[in-house]
Symmetry: C2
Subunit: 308 residues, 2 copies
């Protein structure tokens, strides 16, 4: 089943303590679409300027990503520049140029509207709601968000949260949204706001998956890496991989067990993505490599039975 | 099989953002002994002053902890005072009074010397070496350490590390000891210094277990808690529980699979310990509760099979 993905598409300049690269393919929808396309036919919704390099368009096309929903308009593409700390756990935005993104109104082509799976990547909640309104019979909708929207658009965000099946956010955002410092309490609190499922991402420490039903809880580690070159887009890759897997499975009911598998797959895709800048690692990541890492992850996380 | 545990025994004053308690039972050996005693007969080696409250002695005795190696000398017991930050992830030492601990020379009673399992809790490496020298036929020896010894006693610490079967330390200490920021590299590096196994503790994010042999790696989450009252002694409890489980199992070879189970049990004991100040939670923790949490942990961590 096809998967609608909406979000930002941009050109990033990323600086770590070791390297700096400019004009890299970036944006929440780009990362999520490339990840999701490992499993499902992706229908991309976004906006770029006429300066958007053809090579990135070709990259999307090479992954069979449907670009009918990609608006190409006069002007410059969204640009973001950020710098990471030594341990890669924190980053500072150095500059943002919204450019054509400032007037983005996501419109779904007719062929997208019947899609039953959607990932509303990190953009303003009002735009996410606008996309949701255009879906005819959504079966499973995931929304991502960020601290900025909790700050400046909380009423719309709460409206959105109440209408989606799953919310994905990071630990700091979960604390900010709920006012709960403890993540277990924060996760349950967010479930009470509407969604059946909530994933709280903890970066290199993995993620927590909460379900509304009694006993639905899963904690997932991250794949341990010898080196991380660029954490940008890890969260979007996670969300895209998870959503792609669910769309691919296309079950009548998205069960907690299915979600657990999706969370593992999303995490493994994200672990590859941070091995190189931008989406460079994804360019040569084969499905077999992904499968092998999933199995390796299961092996290193397995406790087995325990008679204590 | 009995387990020798050496380390500090003290009276702690602990301040969190919510509460402050004075003269609590503390010290690396106290926490480790109480945890280890859930599985194995513990032989305690430590020193206290004549002011050490009888109730703490009685608590040790109630857990069948052998106190022949506990030196009670004229003077005051070791005292430590610390304060935690809001998120409990960092703490500041407010004061330390070494008192009788300053002249501690751990001597093993004759009845302890034939023990095949030992946990060398966090004290000066020269003292840990001195204990190791007194063991007649050690089968599996675990050492814990801290940043202070890496700073001021690295040569002795490296001597010790080369002679023990397993080293336990936290993420910051692993980085400090090896100069490696990446924990996967740091873990392998420490294995190269001698020990067959290394556990790197990551606090609320669980721990990483490394073995010397190809493919020996396990990542273990921590049990997610709704609230943490006092993190003091979590690492010592972890080490004590792990060591106790290994001594209890008393296998001809401590395999990686056995260690994995020990790591889970140590983690679960630590998760109980932080629920209340000092060892108050351990006072009423039943073996059945511990078993139930181990099973719960296995359930919330289980990925199951995955056909990606």
């Amino acid at each position: 089943m096809s998967l609608v993905i909406v979000g930002s598409i941009g050109l990033d300049t990323v600086k770590t303590t070791v390297e700096e690269h400019a004009n890299l393919l970036g944006g929440s929808a780009s990362y999520a679409a490339i990840a999701g396309a490992y499993y499902a036919p992706v229908q991309l919704v976004g906006i770029v300027g006429t300066d958007f390099p053809q090579e990135h368009v070709d990259f999307f096309k090479s992954r069979k990503i449907d670009l009918e929903g990609l608006q190409v308009v006069d002007g410059k593409t969204f640009r973001w520049s950020g710098e990471y700390s030594l341990d890669m756990n924190s980053r500072q935005t150095r500059s943002i140029e919204l450019n054509v993104f400032e007037k983005f109104s996501p419109e779904l082509p007719a062929s997208y509207r019947s899609s039953r799976f959607a990932l509303l990547g990190n953009i303003a909640p009002s735009l996410q709601l606008h996309v949701l309104d255009q879906l005819q019979s959504p079966h499973f909708v995931i929304a991502d968000t960020m601290d900025l929207w909790i700050d400046i658009a909380k009423p719309e965000l709460l409206q959105l949260i109440a209408r989606v099946d799953m919310l994905i956010l990071n630990d700091g955002e979960a604390r900010q949204l709920t006012g709960e410092n403890n993540l277990m309490k924060a996760g349950k609190h967010i479930c009470d706001l509407g969604p059946r499922y909530v994933a709280i991402k903890k970066g290199e420490h993995g993620c927590l998956l909460f379900g509304k039903k009694e006993g639905e809880f899963f904690q997932c580690g991250a794949f341990p890496l010898d080196s991380i070159l660029d954490p940008t887009g890890a969260g979007d890759t996670f969300a895209g991989g998870l959503a792609g897997f669910l769309a691919h499975s296309d079950q009548a009911e998205v069960t907690f067990d299915l979600l657990k598998k999706g969370v593992v797959i999303g995490s493994m895709l994200a672990s590859f993505n941070v091995e190189r800048f931008s989406m460079l690692r994804m360019k040569d990541l084969s499905f077999e490599e992904l499968q092998a890492r999933c199995q390796k992850f299961i092996q290193i996380s397995a406790i087995g039975s325990l008679e204590v």
